[in-house]
Protein backbone atom coordinates (compact mmCIF):
# COMPACT_ATOMS: atom_id res chain seq x y z
CA UNK A 1 0.00 0.00 0.00
CA UNK A 2 1.54 3.28 -1.13
CA UNK A 3 1.72 5.79 1.72
CA UNK A 4 1.53 8.95 -0.41
CA UNK A 5 0.25 8.56 -3.94
CA UNK A 6 0.02 11.18 -6.67
CA UNK A 7 -1.60 11.08 -10.04
CA UNK A 8 -0.69 11.43 -12.79
CA UNK A 9 3.01 10.56 -12.80
CA UNK A 10 3.57 12.37 -16.09
CA UNK A 11 1.70 15.33 -17.51
CA UNK A 12 2.47 16.93 -20.86
CA UNK A 13 0.32 19.87 -21.82
CA UNK A 14 0.29 23.03 -23.88
CA UNK A 15 0.79 26.55 -22.63
CA UNK A 16 -2.40 28.17 -21.46
CA UNK A 17 -4.10 24.93 -20.43
CA UNK A 18 -5.44 24.17 -16.96
CA UNK A 19 -4.42 20.96 -15.22
CA UNK A 20 -4.78 19.23 -11.86
CA UNK A 21 -2.61 16.89 -9.84
CA UNK A 22 -4.15 14.72 -7.16
CA UNK A 23 -2.56 13.51 -3.94
CA UNK A 24 -3.75 11.08 -1.30
CA UNK A 25 -2.08 9.81 1.86
CA UNK A 26 -3.15 6.81 3.93
CA UNK A 27 -0.89 7.53 6.91
CA UNK A 28 -3.43 9.43 8.98
CA UNK A 29 -1.24 12.53 8.94
CA UNK A 30 -2.65 15.96 9.67
CA UNK A 31 -0.20 17.94 7.55
CA UNK A 32 0.28 17.81 3.78
CA UNK A 33 2.56 19.72 1.46
CA UNK A 34 3.28 20.54 -2.15
CA UNK A 35 6.89 20.92 -3.17
CA UNK A 36 8.31 21.92 -6.55
CA UNK A 37 11.59 20.44 -7.76
CA UNK A 38 13.19 22.36 -10.59
CA UNK A 39 15.66 21.21 -13.21
CA UNK A 40 18.55 21.79 -10.78
CA UNK A 41 16.86 19.44 -8.29
CA UNK A 42 16.13 22.22 -5.81
CA UNK A 43 13.13 21.35 -3.58
CA UNK A 44 11.02 24.38 -2.75
CA UNK A 45 7.94 24.46 -0.56
CA UNK A 46 4.83 25.76 -2.30
CA UNK A 47 1.99 25.09 0.12
CA UNK A 48 1.34 23.36 3.40
CA UNK A 49 -1.98 22.38 4.90
CA UNK A 50 -2.77 21.35 8.44
CA UNK A 51 -6.15 19.76 9.18
CA UNK A 52 -7.43 20.94 5.78
CA UNK A 53 -6.45 24.54 6.45
CA UNK A 54 -3.90 26.42 4.38
CA UNK A 55 -0.92 27.28 6.57
CA UNK A 56 1.75 28.30 4.09
CA UNK A 57 1.53 29.84 0.65
CA UNK A 58 5.13 30.45 -0.25
CA UNK A 59 4.81 33.30 -2.77
CA UNK A 60 3.35 31.02 -5.39
CA UNK A 61 1.51 32.67 -8.32
CA UNK A 62 -2.23 32.63 -7.81
CA UNK A 63 -2.54 30.49 -10.94
CA UNK A 64 -1.75 27.66 -8.51
CA UNK A 65 -4.64 26.75 -6.25
CA UNK A 66 -4.45 23.92 -3.76
CA UNK A 67 -7.57 22.28 -2.39
CA UNK A 68 -7.88 19.92 0.54
CA UNK A 69 -11.32 18.23 0.58
CA UNK A 70 -10.30 16.20 3.64
CA UNK A 71 -7.18 15.50 5.68
CA UNK A 72 -6.14 12.62 3.41
CA UNK A 73 -6.24 14.55 0.15
CA UNK A 74 -4.48 17.61 -1.18
CA UNK A 75 -4.94 18.46 -4.84
CA UNK A 76 -3.18 21.09 -6.90
CA UNK A 77 -4.88 22.92 -9.72
CA UNK A 78 -2.87 25.06 -12.10
CA UNK A 79 -4.48 27.59 -14.44
CA UNK A 80 -3.02 29.09 -17.59
CA UNK A 81 0.09 26.94 -17.59
CA UNK A 82 3.37 28.60 -18.56
CA UNK A 83 6.64 27.14 -19.83
CA UNK A 84 8.29 27.98 -16.50
CA UNK A 85 5.85 25.73 -14.67
CA UNK A 86 7.65 22.70 -16.08
CA UNK A 87 9.06 20.84 -13.09
CA UNK A 88 8.46 17.83 -10.87
CA UNK A 89 5.80 18.42 -8.25
CA UNK A 90 5.89 16.39 -5.06
CA UNK A 91 3.16 15.89 -2.54
CA UNK A 92 4.22 14.99 1.00
CA UNK A 93 2.68 14.45 4.41
CA UNK A 94 3.85 14.36 8.02
CA UNK A 95 2.31 13.85 11.44
CA UNK A 96 3.88 16.99 12.86
CA UNK A 97 6.05 19.73 11.39
CA UNK A 98 9.17 18.24 12.94
CA UNK A 99 8.74 14.56 12.14
CA UNK A 100 9.41 12.47 9.07
CA UNK A 101 7.84 13.74 5.87
CA UNK A 102 6.75 11.07 3.41
CA UNK A 103 6.89 12.01 -0.25
CA UNK A 104 4.91 10.80 -3.20
CA UNK A 105 6.56 9.60 -6.38
CA UNK A 106 6.22 13.00 -8.03
CA UNK A 107 4.40 14.36 -11.07
CA UNK A 108 6.63 15.44 -13.92
CA UNK A 109 4.86 18.36 -15.59
CA UNK A 110 6.07 19.42 -19.02
CA UNK A 111 4.53 22.51 -20.60
CA UNK A 112 5.12 22.83 -24.34
Amino acid sequence: DTAVSQTPKYLVTQMGNDKSIKCEQNLGHDTMYWYKQDSKKFLKIMFSYNNKELIINETVPNRFSPKSPDKAHLNLHINSLELGDSAVYFCASSRFSNTEAFFGQGTRLTVV
Partner: protein, 113 residues
Protein backbone atom coordinates in the same frame (compact mmCIF):
# COMPACT_ATOMS: atom_id res chain seq x y z
CA UNK B 1 17.60 32.99 7.96
CA UNK B 2 15.45 30.26 6.46
CA UNK B 3 18.22 28.83 4.28
CA UNK B 4 20.05 25.57 4.67
CA UNK B 5 23.39 25.59 2.86
CA UNK B 6 24.68 22.27 1.55
CA UNK B 7 28.01 21.23 0.11
CA UNK B 8 29.47 19.82 -2.02
CA UNK B 9 27.18 20.00 -5.03
CA UNK B 10 28.57 16.71 -6.34
CA UNK B 11 30.80 13.99 -4.98
CA UNK B 12 32.58 11.03 -6.52
CA UNK B 13 33.81 8.31 -4.19
CA UNK B 14 35.41 4.94 -4.73
CA UNK B 15 33.57 1.86 -3.54
CA UNK B 16 34.41 1.28 0.11
CA UNK B 17 35.29 4.91 0.71
CA UNK B 18 33.67 7.46 3.01
CA UNK B 19 31.23 10.03 1.62
CA UNK B 20 30.80 13.23 3.60
CA UNK B 21 28.16 15.88 2.94
CA UNK B 22 27.90 19.05 4.98
CA UNK B 23 25.05 21.41 5.83
CA UNK B 24 24.76 24.65 7.74
CA UNK B 25 21.73 26.54 9.00
CA UNK B 26 21.02 29.88 10.66
CA UNK B 27 17.60 29.63 12.24
CA UNK B 28 17.99 28.47 15.85
CA UNK B 29 14.28 27.55 15.92
CA UNK B 30 15.05 24.49 13.78
CA UNK B 31 14.79 21.35 15.90
CA UNK B 32 14.65 18.52 13.39
CA UNK B 33 17.36 17.76 10.85
CA UNK B 34 16.64 14.94 8.40
CA UNK B 35 18.63 13.64 5.48
CA UNK B 36 16.73 12.49 2.43
CA UNK B 37 17.93 10.22 -0.37
CA UNK B 38 16.47 10.55 -3.85
CA UNK B 39 16.93 8.16 -6.75
CA UNK B 40 16.11 9.26 -10.33
CA UNK B 41 12.40 9.23 -10.99
CA UNK B 42 11.52 8.74 -7.33
CA UNK B 43 10.47 10.95 -4.47
CA UNK B 44 12.86 11.80 -1.63
CA UNK B 45 12.90 9.18 1.13
CA UNK B 46 14.07 9.68 4.69
CA UNK B 47 17.50 8.20 5.31
CA UNK B 48 18.28 9.31 8.85
CA UNK B 49 17.37 12.24 11.09
CA UNK B 50 18.65 13.92 14.22
CA UNK B 51 17.36 16.32 16.86
CA UNK B 52 19.59 18.93 18.53
CA UNK B 53 19.72 17.15 21.90
CA UNK B 54 22.29 14.66 20.56
CA UNK B 55 25.57 15.22 18.73
CA UNK B 56 25.64 12.03 16.72
CA UNK B 57 23.28 9.41 15.40
CA UNK B 58 24.26 6.24 13.61
CA UNK B 59 22.14 3.85 11.60
CA UNK B 60 24.10 1.14 9.87
CA UNK B 61 26.60 2.75 7.49
CA UNK B 62 24.99 6.19 7.85
CA UNK B 63 25.94 8.67 10.58
CA UNK B 64 24.81 12.21 11.25
CA UNK B 65 27.17 14.48 13.18
CA UNK B 66 25.54 17.54 14.69
CA UNK B 67 27.27 20.66 16.03
CA UNK B 68 24.69 22.88 17.67
CA UNK B 69 27.04 25.75 18.52
CA UNK B 70 28.36 25.92 14.95
CA UNK B 71 24.88 25.32 13.49
CA UNK B 72 26.23 22.62 11.24
CA UNK B 73 25.44 18.99 10.60
CA UNK B 74 26.88 16.41 8.28
CA UNK B 75 26.13 13.02 6.80
CA UNK B 76 28.83 10.36 6.71
CA UNK B 77 28.35 7.28 4.56
CA UNK B 78 30.85 4.60 5.52
CA UNK B 79 31.88 1.83 3.14
CA UNK B 80 30.11 3.60 0.27
CA UNK B 81 28.52 1.29 -2.29
CA UNK B 82 27.48 1.83 -5.93
CA UNK B 83 23.87 1.43 -4.76
CA UNK B 84 24.34 4.57 -2.65
CA UNK B 85 24.65 6.62 -5.85
CA UNK B 86 21.80 9.10 -5.55
CA UNK B 87 21.07 12.72 -4.69
CA UNK B 88 21.16 13.55 -0.98
CA UNK B 89 19.33 16.45 0.62
CA UNK B 90 19.74 17.79 4.10
CA UNK B 91 16.74 19.60 5.55
CA UNK B 92 15.59 21.41 8.64
CA UNK B 93 12.25 22.09 10.23
CA UNK B 94 10.81 23.48 13.42
CA UNK B 95 8.15 22.34 15.87
CA UNK B 96 7.09 25.97 16.28
CA UNK B 97 4.25 25.77 13.81
CA UNK B 98 6.11 26.73 10.66
CA UNK B 99 4.90 23.64 8.78
CA UNK B 100 7.67 23.41 6.25
CA UNK B 101 10.92 21.61 5.65
CA UNK B 102 13.70 23.77 4.29
CA UNK B 103 15.90 21.71 2.00
CA UNK B 104 19.53 22.14 1.09
CA UNK B 105 20.44 22.35 -2.58
CA UNK B 106 21.31 18.65 -2.85
CA UNK B 107 24.49 16.62 -3.38
CA UNK B 108 24.76 14.25 -6.29
CA UNK B 109 26.80 11.27 -5.08
CA UNK B 110 28.38 8.80 -7.44
CA UNK B 111 30.12 5.74 -6.03
CA UNK B 112 32.46 4.06 -8.48
CA UNK B 113 32.58 0.28 -8.54
Amino acid sequence: QQQVKQSPQSLIVQKGGISIINCAYENTAFDYFPWYQQFPGKGPALLIAIRPDVSEKKEGRFTISFNKSAKQFSLHIMDSQPGDSATYFCAASSSQGTYKYIFGTGTRLKVLA
